[in-house]
């Protein structure tokens, strides 16, 4: 049940975003894609989520040909930098969305959905905020709701695109610790995009340092820090 990304390329109208990115993430691991802006990390994440399409290369997850599946059937929870909560829905309705849109046969009962929403709100430490609208929440609270919403569908993969980028340092640290706790609790393979190396090293099992649409180095935080393989990696880490 591991995730295998093999030489994925993607070209936008004028510039190449990915030039053959490859890595393997074991089942249940927490991988950080780390790199400066324009290194292709968000594009790679969006390809994993089905929001962007690769020009070539392949992605296998368990025994699935991942790139042939539409976003809708991948069952991969996605957390966006700008939260992307449904503005016109309450917190509870946001979290329940993924369960309510399931086809009738797989849709849980109303009572089950309500119970699941309560559990998730407790998990992300926002009990009692069910009836609030996103506009009534702080940035940190919104991102917790977005995380709960992504977890509600019992995802087989969790994808996070700079989820803490818009938050202040203190909130970032709290959320980072909570994210790791939630990941360990759910045991779901997680890919996390960030440009903040401290964040990447603190939270991930494996770090992929990216540059110009390629993965420069891939390994455990300790390994990457101790043995930077290219001048770019050592320079990026010392910045």
């Amino acid at each position: 049940m591991s995730l295998t990304v093999d030489s994925v390329t993607k070209k936008f109208a004028r510039f190449p975003a990915l030039n053959g990115a490859s890595f393997v993430a074991p089942q249940g691991s927490f991988v950080s894609l780390l790199g400066p802006s324009g290194s292709g990390k968000t594009t790679l994440l969006r390809i994993l989520g089905g929001l962007e399409f690769a020009d070539s290369g392949s992605v296998r997850f368990a025994d699935l040909n991942w790139l042939d599946m539409p976003a809708r059937t991948r069952n991969a929870g996605f957390v966006f930098q700008q939260y992307a909560l449904f503005k016109h829905m309450t917190v509870a309705d946001n979290i329940a969305f993924g369960l309510r849109v399931r086809p009738r046969g797989r849709r849980p009962s109303k009572a089950d959905i309500a119970r699941r929403v309560k559990e998730l709100l407790a998990l992300v430490q926002l009990p009692g905020l069910d009836d609030r609208y996103p506009s009534q929440l702080s940035g940190g609270q919104r991102q917790r709701v977005a995380l709960a919403r992504a977890l509600a569908i019992e995802p087989r993969m969790l994808l996070l695109d700079e989820p803490f980028g818009a938050l202040d340092a203190k909130v970032r640290k709290e959320l980072r610790a909570d994210l790791r706790r939630i990941h360990d609790h759910a045991g779901v393979t997680t890919v996390f995009v960030t440009h903040d190396q401290e964040e990447a090293f603190a939270v991930a099992d494996l770090v992929a340092v990216m540059k110009d649409g390629r993965i420069e180095q891939y390994g455990t935080p300790a390994d990457v820090r101790k043995n930077p393989r290219t001048p770019f990696v050592s320079e990026f880490l010392s910045a």
Binding site: P70, F97, I153
Partner: protein, 283 residues
């Protein structure tokens, strides 16, 4: 008592009063006064005279035709407007700017020219004229022509209202819905539509008001057959040209009332859903 400083964004009292008076004055003279005069003239001979002028068969036929034209044009342009705004806001494709410019065309082209275009296409000497006559299909000087002209002039209202709104809202929520397993239709009904419903409603109301009030384009294609191809605005002109001022003003008042009803409806909905409206504007 400490000296009171002006708030940096606050202007002196005399200037505020002057600007306020100018605005109110313009509205009173240019908008309210003519409207009041229409109603005064309409009811000059009493309510029963007004009523007689309205239930007169030709007037009723005109009301009916206007409502038919609006009832076809508004749903058509609503569906088109949503489709166009959706395409422009959520997808990138070549020729997008051309499409947006084309949608604006009916705003920039004079309605009379729009009417003439239909004469050129469907008229006796037009492209399809002879073929239409051979098959006994009547478009010009008949209801289909009036509906087509109405659709043309009211084409941009819904699309114009929705495009900036949907571009501004971006694709984030739709992308989130897709990753959560929603189908395209579920995403549209549960995410996109609730987010645009106020803009959509406003566009539909404007489209409806214009559809009922359109004069120029409809005038060219109508042929002014009394009781058959006259819409309300055309009927007003016909009565006025025949020195039937009481009748003209009665129908004009009815037309104005329909427009006012539209505005009242809009205000009522805004008042009823004020909380929701405020919530959807904040981020």
């Amino acid at each position: 008592m400490s000296k009171r400083f002006l708030n940096p964004t606050e202007d002196p009292l005399w200037l505020r009063l002057l600007l306020g008076a100018v605005a109110v004055g313009f509205i009173a003279v240019l908008l309210l006064l003519p409207l009041a005069l229409v109603f005064k003239e309409a009811f000059a001979n009493g309510v029963s005279a007004f009523w007689t002028a309205i239930v007169e068969p030709d007037a009723l036929a005109a009301v009916k035709l206007s409502l038919i034209a609006a009832a076809i044009a508004v749903p058509f342009n609503t569906v088109f407007g949503i489709a166009a705004a959706w395409a422009v806001a959520k997808y990138d494709f070549p020729g997008k700017t051309v499409l947006v410019t084309l949608i604006d065309l009916p705003f920039s082209v004079s309605p009379v020219v729009a009417g003439l275009i239909y004469v050129l296409v469907f008229g006796m000497q037009g492209w399809f004229g002879p073929w239409l006559i051979d098959h006994d299909i009547h478009i010009l000087f008949a209801v289909p022509g009036i509906v087509l002209a109405t659709i043309f002039v009211t084409f941009p209202f819904v699309a114009r209202e929705l495009i900036p709104l949907m571009v501004d809202q971006g694709r984030d929520e739709e992308e989130a819905a897709a990753t959560l397993g929603a189908t395209g239709l579920q995403t549209f009904l549960r995410v996109t539509l609730p987010n645009i419903k106020w803009g959509l409603l406003y566009g539909i109301l404007l489209c409806n008001a214009r559809a009922l009030g359109e004069f120029g384009a409809v005038s060219v294609v109508s042929g002014h057959i009394r009781g058959v191809t006259n819409t309300m605005p055309l009927h007003v002109q016909l009565l006025y040209d025949n020195y039937d001022y009481a009748g003209a003003f009665a129908v004009a008042a009815l037309l104005a009332m329909l427009a006012l009803l539209t505005l009242v409806l809009k205000s009522l909905l805004e008042w009823r859903y004020a909380d929701e409206l405020a919530a959807s504007h904040r981020h």
